[in-house]
Symmetry: C2
Subunit: 143 residues, 2 copies
């Protein structure tokens, strides 16, 4: 077996580093909101809905901005409806679609969550100064 690949390609090093940081950060943020009984996907959906400023979103509108845009969005929204954090009604003009909006209760919870998440986020990124953060973001965007 050819095991003499003694040096790791840069692209692998980069890929694994990003994946590791990504999962670490995911875990950190998840734990920051877990005490409110909210998962990261649910949090994500709530933020997307708030971003619509009252304008209803279809399931696809939400899906396309989710971390993992897939068929599970239905069930994520289900959970939020059960918790009364969002409302879902059938779209009258196209009854295949649904109209999803965030409730006042959802907005209230989101302010609490934002606080907790912001705190956690600045905590886990504190090893870089603003200049470095900007450079890092720029490189990641270019990637």
């Amino acid at each position: 077996m050819k095991e003499n690949k003694m040096h790791i390609p840069l692209s692998r090093k980069l890929t694994t580093t990003i994946i590791k940081k990504g999962t670490d950060f995911t875990d950190e943020v998840s734990s920051a909101i877990k005490e409110q009984g909210i998962t990261l996907q649910q949090f994500n959906a709530l933020r997307i809905l708030r971003g619509r400023n009252g304008k209803p979103a279809s399931l696809q509108d939400v899906s396309k901005d989710m971390i993992h845009a897939n068929s599970n969005t239905t069930r994520v929204i289900d959970k939020l409806v059960t918790k009364k954090l969002v409302k879902r009604v059938q779209c009258p003009s196209d009854r295949r679609q649904i109209e999803i909006t965030i409730t006042q209760e959802g907005l209230n919870l989101l302010t609490i969550l934002d606080h907790q998440v912001d705190e956690k986020e600045s905590e886990i990124t504190q090893n870089l100064n603003d200049e470095e953060k900007k450079r890092l973001i720029a490189l990641l965007m270019k990637l």
Copy 2:
């Protein structure tokens, strides 16, 4: 610490960018090995075991280098044993422990997987030159 609500704090931008890239990369690499019926966690475990160069690993040895080091490592190894890609025996000196080694079949599969993954990894990082990759890695490590 207090952030102005109207503009997105740098730390949030950075966090979300990393999380997004991390999941994107995870999906890319996963899809590159999926056709061989291997998940990313399983691939990860196989690589860790190969890295031991024949020296058996305990479950904890494997766990501590996994992306998500948790109780599921037992079941990940289970899968690999079923596929005959690794061997698991009870450790004679401490029968609480298990000794895990990668099989020749596992090594063979790994060379195929490495190829596919290397290709995918250089593909998804091609927008940066080597210099930029190094800078990006350095910033991520500092983070």
